[in-house]
Assembly symmetry: C2
Homo-oligomer: 549 residues x 2
Amino acid sequence: MDKRDIASFRQWHRRAARLAKQAGFDIVYVYAGHDITLLLEFLSPRINTRSDEYGGSVENRVRLFRECIEEVRDEVGETCAVAVRLAVDELLGDKGITSAGDGREIVEILAELPDLWDVNVSDWNNDSMTSRFAEEGYQEPYVDFVKSVTSKPVVGVGRFTSPDTMVSQIKRGVLDFIGAARPAIADPFLPNKIEQNRPEDIRECIGCNICVSGNNLFTPMRCTQNPTRSEEWRRGWHPERIPVKDADDHVLVVGAGPAGLEAARAFGQRGYDVMLAEATRDLGGRVTRETTLPGLSTWARVRDWRTGQIEKMPNVVVYRESQMNAATVLETGCNLVVVATGATWRRDGFGRTDRAVVPGTDRSNVYTPDDIMNGAEPEGPVIVFDDDHYYMGSVISERLRALGREVVLVTPEAVVSAFTTYTLEQSRVQARLMEAGIRIVASHSLVSIGADATELRCTYTDRVSSIACTSVVLVTALTANDGLYADLVQTAVADDDDGLRRFVRIGDCYAPGTIAAAVWSGHRCARAPFAEITDEVPFRLERVELVDG
Amino acid sequence: MDKRDIASFRQWHRRAARLAKQAGFDIVYVYAGHDITLLLEFLSPRINTRSDEYGGSVENRVRLFRECIEEVRDEVGETCAVAVRLAVDELLGDKGITSAGDGREIVEILAELPDLWDVNVSDWNNDSMTSRFAEEGYQEPYVDFVKSVTSKPVVGVGRFTSPDTMVSQIKRGVLDFIGAARPAIADPFLPNKIEQNRPEDIRECIGCNICVSGNNLFTPMRCTQNPTRSEEWRRGWHPERIPVKDADDHVLVVGAGPAGLEAARAFGQRGYDVMLAEATRDLGGRVTRETTLPGLSTWARVRDWRTGQIEKMPNVVVYRESQMNAATVLETGCNLVVVATGATWRRDGFGRTDRAVVPGTDRSNVYTPDDIMNGAEPEGPVIVFDDDHYYMGSVISERLRALGREVVLVTPEAVVSAFTTYTLEQSRVQARLMEAGIRIVASHSLVSIGADATELRCTYTDRVSSIACTSVVLVTALTANDGLYADLVQTAVADDDDGLRRFVRIGDCYAPGTIAAAVWSGHRCARAPFAEITDEVPFRLERVELVDG
């Protein structure tokens, strides 16, 4: 960028502020967060290698940032606030901006210039860490100096989910305002619930970053805790309110996993009489099982919020240790039966990349994630074959490694847990496994499993090689537990006038997927239990017309 | 999918055909190409493991495809054609559909049902191969049986770019129609030019798949040969026509690389008097140098089409071996000077992932792609450090391997030539390197270079390791050759009344990038040589209004 380029940039920046003011905004940000803006790149000595008055010393590197803040101020006047977002630490140590070094100096130089300091760490992978890798409020040590340097109010972020943590940082003078995007996706009414002193009603963010994956994949944003997310306008789903029941049906929900719990809760909220039958002693289904795996404990909130709500509903009755079959289902006399019996990990090697049954998968030294979650402890060396590519392969590997096993993670993808690229976790997942001493064999698929060796094939060259191992864990794909549903299809036809209006299947027993998808499926069922599949798109579309540009 | 799901699918498919007919289309496709549709998944024994009448035998697997073809026919009637697209070979050998097996049987079963057979190979990586990996018409051996099995017309694809190849396949009875998407992106007037018997005017597709990368990256589609691509509506750029000059300026273009050649050609087409000064004996710049590297020879068409067009223009004069400086530029008396002096590969290790100068890069055993293209033959073992991530690292490695060197390709990305994922080439690039015996060290950055060893750092764990090597080739980033431009900035100020109206820089000497970007930059300069950077967006936007959905 020569001086004319810089002048152009400042001019465009000015204009953007002017347009924002005209559009009625109350706060205009000058943005140098996340490793994504030119302003941060000018601040960074790693990127800014200029030899003129915009490079070199901190004062010089701050110059463009300062000019833009001043020019925005000049454009928007005194009735619109000028906020600054700044990454005060890049988590790169000596190679980047640190809060003990340049980060602090930048805030000192500009201390009173903005109306609000919004401070965080950079890049986005660091700023939006998941619960698997960071505690609530983890940015505190990086940003806590800011209030001592400026008299202006300071806002920060850092995976705040509980009111206690938020209040603690305010009371201790770390921040003046709490920034919380993901928690507000999980529960847009979080501030109201704090104000109304009903913290138990907060649908607390589990920190899984499924929301972020929607952003990165250009798909509607989903939330594991809040199934109404992205459906507010197009389906008219309010995050808190749901229509009162429109029939006197008695509802039976079979299975208390994430789909069944959400269905029972939402039917209950609508005022239906609901029986929730769970085969085991524990509620939560896969959520309860998976939260025993390393790093996933916060996910229990998916269960806990729903069981907490259900406990307050006299019209929802929970039956534990109640294994159902078609006959006992019909005996309940319920008019609407919702089958939410979950899914089971495949044991035959058929996965996402390699859609084929693998020879040797019938051997006794072959395990699935269900086995591990049920307490199996395979002998090492263990191969974990991951053809699922989300979190399961990596957490199973961690679990086995924690048992002292020698572990080799094999995957047809080039990286471990490839899908976690979209949740911003991939580099941390792979680093954690490598640091735990887990060997990674990427870009290999499974050819066959033997008694003490497994054959692999390179996805690039098709070359076959062999790895010695005593056990294999297959993390490939799930099969729906649709036995009860299939039995109902048979039985209910023969039993047409028993008052049963409809039976449906939801969640993983219909289509195995993420926990977010299961919760969504349960919620949708309760919103529209009698919705038939039709030719029509079942939600409003943003129909656009092209106007003259 | 149970039977109700299948019924729903057929119903939606019918409706889609009906809507297409209503919208006025003349041909409706039933699509089973590319490994992307449910119909192909039902056809594939690898994916379709059903035990009912939709699975098992070929007849069963064809059932849904047949039903959909018949139902589309029923919906659209006889005034609208029903075409079928079918991947007759998945290039998976025994594991998939092959043209000698199921592929042929499917065509035999459905032979006379559609009005048009559109046949190709699957998946998209195989169907849209680049010139680096496939010859023109490479799908012929897979699809040539089709005409012998049906009396209906047959269309196929396969990177057809030259009229000769197209005519050959028609004359030999391989196909009835030629399908060519990429060649029509490179030259939408290709059919007209064949009809008008001016094949030398065809802007022949080079087969680089930059167009596909735009699709995969959700960015406007670009074309290396056709800079007007995606600009037809928003900038009003016609692929063939360009406004006649609006001033009597004499234009000097310095540098005959892709940007300079396109600028000279387009200025010439507008009617300007143009001098094109090239420092060396050869036209084409980086295009000419890069086409000497393995697999890139078709790229010479970028140069050849432009030099061919320029040769026909009496108003464009080419001066070879004419190294220019600020004084000689001003001596030409041209009113408009376009600097297109290209870029040079960096020799200091500063790249895309690792934005830092690397110690030891000043050693005499360190090379750049420019050195290799200029004929340097470093002693092995050689490390090729690729922090550029497009094609250069891989073709340099291939070149060195072909010289018999032991080669290690090191890259901070998890895969070789990561950007080529977007051009559908990544798996083939990596396979070719591995099969050539090139060792790949992924996920490692460069710490320092010594006399006979290089230190690397794991991008996940930061662990430092060492690899013995005699030479290192740095493929990291380019620096603009902006010396002449900088001199003009100085000189022209002192020489303001010499008739020089403007000087600009284009292509790599302004912003190093792809060849497509350089060609675009040259074209844009000729369309609007006096366009100033302004606050306004310099093209029409698709402004949309939300209407009630």
